[in-house]
């Protein structure tokens, strides 16, 4: 049976349509994906992300261990700081994409739910002499995202969370519940992610919904989370990258800091040409409304040129968008098309992200 988050009963009571994701029974949608998507772009939305895994590294060796596990430079983090990066295997393939938080006593690494058993085993194998704890079951994660999210959470928080810079966090109380409040997200909007004890999660969920009702806050499911993250040009592990993908080949070279010293996968990554990796990750816009989906073939000049990694209909832009992994030899200016269930749809390469939130909003 699928695992449940501490908010499972709240989702059922709210009439959510549930779906299995990453081993958890999760809300796909409460109203419609479109409505929830637009709420986050124009007002704010509340997400249960408690399926995400959290692992804590502590002790004197924590920095060395985490530094070896992830590609990004963890040493530059101050307490409260966070960064995005990937964990690679020895061949340079991506084991998972993660967010690393520097805490007073070590590091907390946030991992994908579907990767949790694999990651725990991998981290365990590479954590000698370091205290290492899977705290995923004790930690619930709620996200409040959208142009009104900062105002809403600020009103409920004991500390001035609006002062937090992106990818920074602080420990405080929100609506009386102890929380690590982080200026991060996966939607392309401003907002917070709140790490709380599982026991307190249902109470905080209800208080946020009550307090946010007047500002148009609604609960949002994984359906909207996926359309929002794709518009924002953010990757989804298992779909846009996997263990056969190196970071350069999915345009995550900026998370690879070879100069920091040796880490798992660094020898293999050093041998790659970061400017000309085996695959090229691009954003594409399609004519019309038909959706390009994961695994569909991309064609250049009548020849197979790669495949779609993620695709959706963009509710913000009102056309079909996708990301694709192209063979590294495909010319930058090639005319592309996608074979959508037998119909060839013309595609144009566009810069990522597809959507960037308005400045000052």
């Amino acid at each position: 049976m699928a695992l449940r988050t501490p908010l499972h009963d709240s989702h059922i009571a709210a009439g959510a349509r549930m779906v299995e994701f990453g081993g958890f029974d999760m809300p796909l949608q409460y109203s419609t994906i479109r409505e929830e998507h637009i709420a986050v772009r124009t007002r704010c939305g509340l997400f249960d992300l408690s399926h995400m895994g959290e692992v804590r590294f502590s002790g004197d060796r924590a920095l060395d261990v985490v530094q070896r596990l992830v590609t990004n430079d963890v040493a530059r983090l101050e307490v409260g700081g966070a960064l995005y990066g990937v964990m690679c295997n020895e061949a340079g393939g991506i084991v998972d994409d993660v967010v690393v938080y520097r805490e007073a006593g070590g590091y907390m690494v946030v991992i994908n739910a579907a990767c949790r058993p694999k990651d725990i085993a991998w981290m365990g194998d590479h954590s000698r002499d370091c205290e290492f704890e899977d705290i995923g079951d004790q930690v619930a994660l709620l996200a409040v995202q959208g142009p009104r999210a900062v105002g809403l959470v600020s009103r409920l928080a004991a500390a001035d969370v609006a002062e937090l810079r992106p990818f920074h966090s602080m420990d405080t109380q929100v609506a009386g519940v102890q929380a690590t409040v982080s200026r991060t997200g996966y939607t392309g909007e401003d907002g917070f992610e709140l790490y709380v004890d599982s026991v307190g999660a249902p109470g905080l969920w209800d208080k946020l919904l009550d307090a946010g009702a007047a500002e148009g806050l609604i609960p949002c499911g994984l359906g909207a989370r996926d359309t929002l993250r794709l518009e924002a040009g953010l990757r989804l592990y298992g779909q846009d990258m996997d263990e056969n993908t190196d970071p350069y080949s999915c345009a995550l070279g900026w998370t690879v800091k070879l100069q920091k010293g040796e880490f798992i996968g660094s020898a293999a990554l050093t041998k790659l040409d970061s400017k000309h990796p085996p695959r090229r990750f691009v954003g594409i816009e399609l004519q019309g409304r038909a959706i390009a989906r994961h695994g569909q073939q991309v064609i250049a000049g009548g020849e197979p040129a790669g495949e779609v990694t993620s695709g959706t209909y963009s509710f913000t832009l009102d056309h079909s968008i996708a990301t694709a992994s192209l063979d590294g030899e495909v010319p930058l200016d090639a005319e592309l098309a996608v074979d959508i269930r037998g119909t060839v749809a013309a595609a144009t390469v566009v810069p990522l992200p597809f959507y960037r939130r308005p400045k000052g909003a």
Partner: protein, 125 residues
Amino acid sequence: MADLSNYRFTASHEWVRVDGSKATVGISDHAQAQLGDVIFLELPAVGAEVKAGAKFGAIESVKAASDLYAPVGGTVAEVNSALTERPELVNSDPYGEGWMLRLDNVSDDGGDLLDEAGYTKLVGA
């Protein structure tokens, strides 16, 4: 709730309303709810022949793309052009404004298909 006494349903969730040699075709409320936000419809051209039980088009939501199967055979007399710009009509009014095809030369009265009670039982509603 719409009066569905004249509607007949397929196990693949299309409906048909037959009126003599003419018929109207769409998908059920259950089907639209399962699909979620409908984004795109691929429908045949006017004049095309559709065969009972054969694929006549496709419907895409954010979640999935599904083939559409004709409940009865006939000639396409009209395609709901409103769905090109507003495919969400399939979600908001599946038995009314969300219709997809009007057929002529329908020889089958849809009598072998499920009635409302039979369809409701099928989907467990």
